[in-house]
């Protein structure tokens, strides 16, 4: 009995001494700032900055190989705190959120087929481009919602919708979308064009009741071409997010009804 107690205690003591010595003489000296920067980051490990996790980004920041402000989840407050630790000036970043540029719900946009395959946009898109008449539109099978680390995307009436309050702007949905219709936009911008179809008006009308026809009315109503609130790609209006329009009247005047004021808030949990 005494022998057993002594034996276990001895083994434990030897292990403790070995570990203590190892910790003293074998420990690797790390820049203490790495730990501080990691603590300042949100810790979501979303990978939006392009590094494997917050720890990887913190190491690159301390090494000086990554720009401060690449963390979309942390935003300005996080960048300012990191700047304080590293002693460098913060790069002003505006919070960006994802926007799905399509408003063709099941009732508005026609479906040309009946898709019964695997519930994933990438698979659906690989099956003859999907079942939607508009080849540019949101398929609504949730490839973006599946990769979202915050659960900010939900599928409503065959369309992906982003909850602005939950979105951290990591950009995972942007890469996941096979139609490439998700864009990161400034969170302060309120007026958006919810269409990604650059075809001519009559062609758009054939497949969707709410597609942009490129009539330039939004541009005219917001002060003309000189004001520079919109750019055009084919017959598709795009909001110039460097200089976004603020007059919400133009939304109601859009004949195609493809514009919206703050579509993000339509979801909510």
């Amino acid at each position: 009995m005494t022998m057993a107690i002594l034996c276990i205690a001895g083994v434990g003591l030897v292990a403790a001494v070995v570990l203590a010595i190892a910790d003293r003489y074998l420990s690797v000296r790390e820049d203490p700032r790495i730990g501080m920067v990691t603590a300042a980051l949100p810790g979501a490990n979303c990978g939006g900055c392009g590094f494997p996790g917050c720890d990887g980004y913190a190491r690159a920041l301390v090494a000086g190989t990554a720009p401060n402000g690449a963390c979309a989840a942390g935003g300005e407050a996080c960048a300012a705190e990191i700047a304080k630790i590293l002693g460098v000036a913060a790069v002003a970043t505006e919070r960006r959120v994802a926007l799905v540029k399509c408003c063709g719900t099941r009732s508005e946009a026609i479906r040309v087929g009946d898709y019964n395959g695997i519930c994933d946009c990438n698979v659906a898109a690989a099956t003859a481009g999907g079942d939607k008449g508009c080849t540019y539109g949101c398929l609504g099978y949730g490839a973006c919602a599946n990769v979202c680390p915050k659960g900010a995307i939900s599928i409503r009436d065959g369309l992906a919708k982003v909850d602005k309050r939950l979105c951290i702007g990591c950009g995972k949905c942007v890469t996941a979308c096979p139609k490439k219709i998700i864009e990161l936009v400034p969170a302060s911008a309120t007026i958006h064009v919810l269409c990604a179809n650059p075809d001519k008006g009559p062609q758009v009308r054939k497949v969707c009741g709410v597609g942009c026809m490129g009539c330039h009315l939004c541009e005219k109503n917001s002060g003309g071409k000189e004001a520079g609130h919109f750019t055009f790609q084919g017959f598709l209006a795009k909001v110039n997010y460097e200089n976004p329009p603020t007059d919400e009247q133009i939304v109601a005047k859009c004949p195609a009804k493809c514009m919206s004021v703050d579509p993000h808030f339509e979801t909510g949990h």
């Binding site: 022998m3 057993a4 034996c7 276990i8 083994v11 434990g12 292990a15 403790a16 070995v18 570990l19 190892a22 910790d23 074998l26 420990s27 690797v28 695997i118 519930c119 994933d120 698979v123």
Partner: protein, 199 residues
């Protein structure tokens, strides 16, 4: 040579640690969602299990058995294994940083892994010599890694399936693991057969 083949087949296919002895089920379900994490975990387990069996063999033969203390071997083994994994973690970080970057995050998970303790226990029970016990632990760890990689491959494919809501996630993983264990039952007796052929 025949010993090596029989031990390998026996530990990997017939008496697989996860699928027929049901040891190490926690990492089997926990880190099997992606193939690359499963590979990292398998590497860490092979590494730790081989070293741990060598250390526990020495502890048993030089300290416990000579003093008639065989009955407290479980307690002594878990203590030594936990300390050993911590030590490997520190030493690896210092001397082989690339290996630490690949396996480092899995090492704390293995500290109290029952598969590692199970291998040491089995070696003790079977009363093997030093080299056979180390080789048996290595083969058992390879078997563990084999099951983990197979399972994660299946789970990656299953992620695309659309099961009923009540089966989603861990429920389906448990059913899949059970089916995989059933499939491995088909290997029973294979080591005996090989032994007969080699003789």
């Amino acid at each position: 040579m025949s010993y090596i083949i029989i031990t390998l087949v026996g530990a990997v296919l017939v008496n697989n640690f996860v699928l027929s002895r049901f040891l190490g089920c926690c990492p089997f379900l926990g880190v099997s969602k992606k193939l690359d994490t499963a590979l990292g975990m398998s590497g860490a387990v092979v590494f730790v299990m081989t070293i741990a069996s060598a250390v526990t063999w020495c502890l048993d033969h030089w300290l416990l058995t000579p003093n008639g203390l065989g009955y407290i071997h479980t307690l002594a083994f878990i203590l030594v294994i936990a300390a050993l994994v911590q030590f490997i973690d520190i030493a690896m970080k210092k001397f082989v940083p690339p290996l630490h970057a690949a396996l480092g995050i899995f090492l704390p998970l293995i500290t109290t892994n029952c598969a590692v303790l199970g291998a040491a226990e089995l070696n003790y029970k079977q009363g093997l010599g030093f080299v056979p016990s180390v080789f048996f632990s290595f083969a058992a760890a390879v078997g563990f890694g084999f099951a983990l990689v197979l399972f994660s491959g299946i789970r990656e494919k299953l992620a695309h399936a659309d099961p009923p809501r009540c089966f989603r996630g861990i429920a389906l993983a448990l059913v899949t693991g059970g089916l995989l264990a059933l499939a491995f039952m088909g290997f029973s007796g294979l080591d005996k057969g090989i032994e007969r052929i080699l003789k």
